[in-house]
């Protein structure tokens, strides 16, 4: 077996994973692409273990470890995605650009009614500065989920 063939297959799989991570919008699809990249690495490890005839079987043992770590990673990642879905009602990466908790509607109404009352406090200035970014996704959020509920 030429070592080039598995190495090329693994390089192509890794590039496909890179494309998926960069181009996909749904968080679960991004997780799938990460799995593809991990599998490409696994294929490389196995073929180099077979090629170099490692007496400690480092490549294949490391492949097993990577598989276990990938399982742990996918469990934790899905738990985080589900927590995210509970809080924001969306898993689209493009809509997840706020770093703070979305403030309840009463608070935003009062802070919008009196903008710049206390510019010395950095928190209010920051909230005012990011409110322009935050209105678009938070306005799109309930509309999207209502559309989804109607679909299902």
């Amino acid at each position: 077996m030429h070592v080039v063939y598995p190495a090329i297959v693994s390089a192509l799989l890794f590039s496909i994973g890179v494309y998926g991570v960069l181009a996909r919008r749904n968080t679960i699809l991004v997780l799938m692409s990460v799995e593809l990249m991990l599998n490409a690495v696994n294929l490389n490890l196995v073929v180099f273990d077979v090629w170099l005839r490692d007496r400690l079987h480092g490549g294949q043992v490391l492949t097993l470890f990577v598989i276990v770590i990938a399982a742990a990673e996918i469990g934790l990642g899905l738990a985080i995605v589900l927590a995210l879905y509970r809080n924001r009602q969306t898993v689209d990466l493009d809509h997840l650009r706020a770093l703070a908790e979305p403030s309840p509607p009463g608070v935003t109404a009062t802070s919008d009614a009196t903008p710049g009352t206390d510019p010395a406090i950095p928190g209010t200035a920051l909230a005012h500065a990011t409110s322009g970014d935050e209105t678009a996704p938070s306005a799109a959020g309930p509309e999207r989920t209502s559309g989804r509920r109607e679909d299902s």
Partner: protein
């Protein structure tokens, strides 16, 4: 190890089977990242992982192949399907699975593939290994793990426990952080 490389023009049966399985893996991987239906992406992932398990079998890594089938096909994909269900993803065709930077992502991916394939061909053109069965059997791998790799193995079990507890704590709603 690198002497007397056989010609690329007369592939052995193992190489033909490996290349067919690799083509299946790469093709289904492409479908995973380009399909318009979320559930189909998970099902194509099953095909991709199964073909990779076949690749491991051809490379005489039997134990890794069965672990791949058990954990990836059996557990990870099922977990992903549960995630798709619990986030109420649309079942049918949905138009907004790709973000706006699709073209940039394609350019980056093609550049990555070009660089990696060029380097790999340049570096391993003369590398050849005959495939002797038995080196990746459960007995060999088990003795390797429990003789030389015991400490990483135990650390990994602690890691799995931590990930389990972390997933439970994150996904339960009645456990609150310290206010």
């Amino acid at each position: 190890m690198t002497e007397a490389v056989p010609s690329y023009l007369s592939p052995t049966g193992q190489e033909i089977i490996f290349l067919l399985l690799g083509a299946v893996a790469v093709g289904s991987g492409l479908l995973v990242v380009t399909t318009r239906q979320l559930v189909h992406a998970a099902l194509w992932l099953v095909v991709c992982f199964g073909a990779l398990a076949g690749c491991y079998l051809v490379l005489t890594a039997e134990f890794v192949a069965w672990v791949q089938v058990l954990i990836y096909v059996g557990a990870v994909v099922v977990l992903l399907l549960f995630g798709i269900m619990l986030t109420r993803a649309p079942i049918g065709r949905s138009a907004d699975l790709d973000s706006g930077n699709k073209i940039v992502a394609a350019v980056v991916a093609v550049a990555t593939a070009a660089v990696l394939v060029t380097v790999v061909i340049d570096g391993f053109r003369t590398a050849y290994t005959p495939l002797d069965p038995g080196a990746g059997a459960a007995k060999e791998l088990g003795s390797a793990i429990f003789r030389n790799w015991v400490l990483p193995f135990e650390a990994l079990s602690v890691l799995l426990l931590a990930a389990l507890i972390g997933a439970i704590v994150i996904s339960r709603t009645d456990i609150r952080g310290r206010d």
